[in-house]
């Protein structure tokens, strides 16, 4: 396995792109990444997407998108792990290039979610859970997270307002990101007064959907070492782990086993521990998921994720800044694209190109993308070379 670098990144703003088709969103992100990498072509394209078959009535995105961007003939495919599809595309590109079988690859995450009615979209999202044993009972994706959150509050004694800092932090950072879905800070009062979706989860605990696409060009590290005028970012650790699809099948529904395992493997590959991570692009689809991820990745003791947030350690000035460009909560959660936004944002931070949201001196970033309610978790450690 040879070292792998991320040579170029591209993204479109997360939003309601009524004037663009899915293939155009993907193309825009890909062209931006190619221009950023200053290359014209790659040998393979890996697409992260969850719902095009359901919402766009369009599967087979690998051939479709590679043809659209002028790469007809190359190796191309879709990879899918619900909300974890995006990072899975990077993982697949890294394995392909790292193995030496493919000399350069593009990973793109894309999702088009706002053409359909909220109920169609909600039903499609629910397919991330177990169809026969969860979704059939009318439990939504938010509902599953609400079940986890209520039990977490019961076990560890947290109040709903204790989760406010997660949402406030993400929106504060999203306000500094021109590609974020929401670019206004929120107050604790706004958090507390938000309408309930599935108690105890209210609107300000939940990330918004959106249309989006983000892409990265992946090449062998040795090929580009010393050639780039910017800090070169390498993939120092990459791991995928899985858990039961259904929340009810887990011995401890309050612990993200797959998040813990994939982070541990990625840390080991990179030769680091959580103490050395400068920032964490976290999967804050819901505030409870942010708390559980901090615990699983070794930043907080079990049951103590909210304490880290309450003490201000998750802000850009804290010991472990999270969601530095808005996270899922403010940048938005275009499901299958989300994992690639996390990667693109981590590269922005490591290159020193994050603008007013820049974490000074950031050298090591962790990205973690979660599919379903923790059933597939993909962790990447990115470092400046």
């Amino acid at each position: 396995m040879q070292g792998v670098a991320i040579l170029g990144i591209g993204q479109v703003p997360v939003g309601e792109h009524w004037d663009k088709r899915l293939v155009e969103l993907a193309g825009d992100a890909i062209f931006a990444a190619l221009e950023d990498a200053q290359i014209k072509r790659v040998e393979a394209l890996y697409v992260g997407n969850m719902m095009a078959g359901q919402l766009d009535k369009q599967s087979h995105l690998g051939a479709l998108i590679s043809d659209w961007v002028g790469f007809r003939g190359i190796e191309a495919m879709t990879v899918e792990a619900a909300c974890g599809s995006g990072a899975l595309a990077l993982r697949t590109a890294m394995v392909a290039v790292g193995s030496g079988l493919v000399s350069s690859a593009l990973a793109v995450g894309v999702e088009k979610m706002t053409d359909t009615s909220p109920r169609e979209t909600t039903a499609a999202l629910a397919t991330a859970a177990s169809a026969d044993w969860e979704s059939i009972h009318g439990v939504t994706f938010v509902g599953l997270n609400a079940l986890i959150m209520r039990r977490y509050m019961y076990e560890y004694g947290w109040k709903h307002e204790d989760f406010a800092p997660f949402s406030i932090n993400s929106h504060a950072n999203g306000a500094l990101n021109p590609n974020a879905r929401f670019q206004s800070p929120i107050t604790k009062e706004i958090y507390l007064k938000a309408p309930m979706i599935a108690d105890p989860i209210n609107l300000m605990d939940a990330s918004p959907i959106g249309d989006g696409a983000a892409a990265a060009v992946v090449v062998p590290l040795d090929l580009v070492k010393g050639m780039n005028h910017r800090p070169l970012v390498k993939i120092a650790g990459s791991a995928v782990a899985t858990d039961s699809l259904a929340v009810h099948d887990r011995h401890d529904p309050l612990w993200l086993t797959a998040a813990e395992k994939s982070a541990r493997v990625a840390y080991n590959q990179a030769g680091i521990g959580p103490d050395e991570v400068d920032f964490f692009e976290i999967h804050d689809a819901f505030s409870i998921m942010a708390a559980l991820s901090l615990e699983a990745c070794g930043f907080a003791e079990r049951g103590q994720g909210p304490r880290l947030a309450l003490e201000g350690e998750i802000t850009r000035e804290g010991s472990i800044p999270i969601a530095t460009l808005g996270g899922l909560k403010a940048r938005g959660h275009p499901v299958g694209a989300t994992g690639m936004y996390q990667v693109v944002e981590a590269v922005q931070q490591l290159r020193g190109e994050a603008g007013p949201a820049q974490i000074e001196g950031a050298k090591i970033g962790l990205t973690q993308n979660i599919g379903g309610s923790g059933a597939t978790v993909i962790s990447h450690v990115l470092m400046t070379e």
Binding site: S135, I136, G138, T140, G143, I197
Partner: protein
């Protein structure tokens, strides 16, 4: 129309028929043929009592397609007394406040109707507060 898809789960939906592992005695629901505890083959049928307690619950205000008529409805994780946990709706709640740990029992109810008024009616398990102590 998904008739076979629902029909083949009738034993589970109507009677909570799961499995017991012949190697480690773990009770398994839903049936999965490979024991999640010991990895051994487990195909021996086992009927669950339908008694359990609430592990967690939530009220759904934004429902997916096909569930709108019951908004808001309550979904719970129910810890069955034989061990496994399952996801199901709660029903017959009346005015009594819900709490974690509350004893509940299984009852068969309509879960949803598939399509228009001529569509398939899907029945299955829900849970209600324990009537007979």
């Amino acid at each position: 129309m998904d008739i076979p898809r629902h029909w083949r789960l009738n034993k589970q939906r109507y009677a909570l028929t799961g499995e017991v592992c012949p190697h480690c005695q773990a009770k398994i629901f839903p049936p999965r043929d490979v024991c999640p505890e010991c990895g051994g083959e487990a195909k021996t049928e086992f009927g669950f009592s339908g008694k359990g307690e609430i592990y967690s619950y939530t009220n759904i205000y934004n429902a997916p397609e096909g569930y709108e008529e019951n908004i808001p409805y309550t979904v719970a994780l129910v810890k069955l007394e034989e061990g496994p946990m399952i996801t199901a709706q709660l029903t017959d709640l009346g005015d009594q406040p819900l709490e974690i740990g509350m004893p509940v029992e299984m009852i068969t109810r309509k879960i949803r109707s598939d399509g228009d008024e001529r569509g398939l009616l899907i029945y299955g398990y829900k849970f209600r507060p324990l009537v007979s102590a």
